[in-house]
């Protein structure tokens, strides 16, 4: 099951897992975008349109789902906001989308015994959970919370050999990236890119790491966070 599969990292993950032989359930809020993802899938797949910030829609998704061998939590939002403007509604919006939806999905799937033994659960975080950027306080905090949750999930489920890990990318060229570029400037983005020894990432780069973590090749890895940053954090330590 891949959430946030209508675009970006979720979409790339769905396409890659499908090409590797997985039967995927893709979910997201945008039906037409989900159908575009589905067009790229070769195996039988299930599309479930759901806004995971709605408890009813989340429960409906789990009810429709079979037991999963892998769960990739990609759904999330980015909305930069300087700290002086933060109101309760901004906190709720960010944490509902980036934290609560993944937590409640894991809880509901667990409760309905729909996470198989030996399954692998992946949470998509961001290097900004540890390395802040201006305007990103709520986003960074929501991702840091998700990382902490992952470690608890890993320890609670280790007895069933269910593994849970975090993939924490830096800037990846997705729709969010394009939007950021428009809000700032091409020059500013080029300045950012110069801080990345390997340049910005592509969604498939992150999908490849996710596929590894979903596979038995990573069966001894749980409760960890893999940073994917094209060397950004190395260069910032110079």
């Amino acid at each position: 099951m891949i959430t946030g599969a209508s675009s970006g990292i979720g979409q790339a993950t769905a396409i890659l897992c499908d090409s590797l032989g997985a039967t995927v359930t893709i979910t997201g809020r945008n039906e037409s975008a989900l159908k575009e993802t589905a067009k790229e899938l070769k195996n039988s797949s299930k599309i479930v349109v759901a806004d995971l910030t709605s408890r009813e829609q989340l429960t409906a998704l789990v009810n429709k789902s079979g037991a999963v061998d892998g769960l990739v939590n990609c759904a999330g939002i980015v909305k930069p906001l300087p700290i002086k403007y933060i109101k309760q509604k901004n906190i709720s919006e960010m944490f509902d989308a980036n934290f609560s939806s993944s937590v409640l999905l894991c809880s509901e799937l667990s409760n309905q015994k729909k996470i198989n033994e030996n399954a692998s659960v992946i949470f998509i975080s961001s290097v900004s959970a540890q390395h802040p950027y201006i305007g990103g306080s709520l986003y960074s905090a929501s991702k840091a919370a998700l990382e902490a949750f992952c470690r608890s999930f890993a320890i609670e489920n280790a007895g069933k050999k269910i593994r849970a890990n975090v993939v924490s990318p830096a800037l990846v060229k997705t729709k969010i990236f394009t939007e950021t570029e428009l809000a700032t400037s091409e020059e500013e983005m080029q300045k950012y890119e110069s801080q990345y020894p390997l340049g910005f990432g592509e969604p498939v780069d992150v999908a490849n790491c996710i596929a590894f973590l979903l596979s038995p090749a990573s069966k001894w890895i749980t409760g960890t966070t893999i940073n994917m940053d094209g060397g950004l954090l190395l260069s910032s330590k110079k």
């Binding site: 906001l81 201006i134 305007g135 500013e188």
Partner: protein, 78 residues
């Protein structure tokens, strides 16, 4: 909100911006020390005062302070 009031309030959002820095024809990206933080402040300022969500494309289409003001007027419900 008239243009003069819009400018005055927007200036108030930026720390350490002397009064009179922004004029209707000021290219706001040319303000000394302009950064992505300023763009975020503009987006938040418009959101809070007018309940209008600007995206990157909207901002990209504007250059001067009066362009910004006109954009907000266009997006206001009739």
């Amino acid at each position: 909100m008239l243009l003069e009031e819009f400018i005055s309030k927007l200036e108030g959002e930026f720390d350490d911006m002397p009064k009179g820095t922004l004029q209707p024809d000021t290219d706001y990206r040319s303000i000394k020390g302009w950064s992505s933080m300023h763009a975020l402040i503009i987006i938040a300022f418009v959101d809070i005062n007018f309940n209008i969500t600007l995206n990157g494309s909207d901002l990209k289409a504007t250059k001067t302070v009066s362009d910004l003001y006109n954009l907000v007027q266009q997006k206001r419900p009739a």
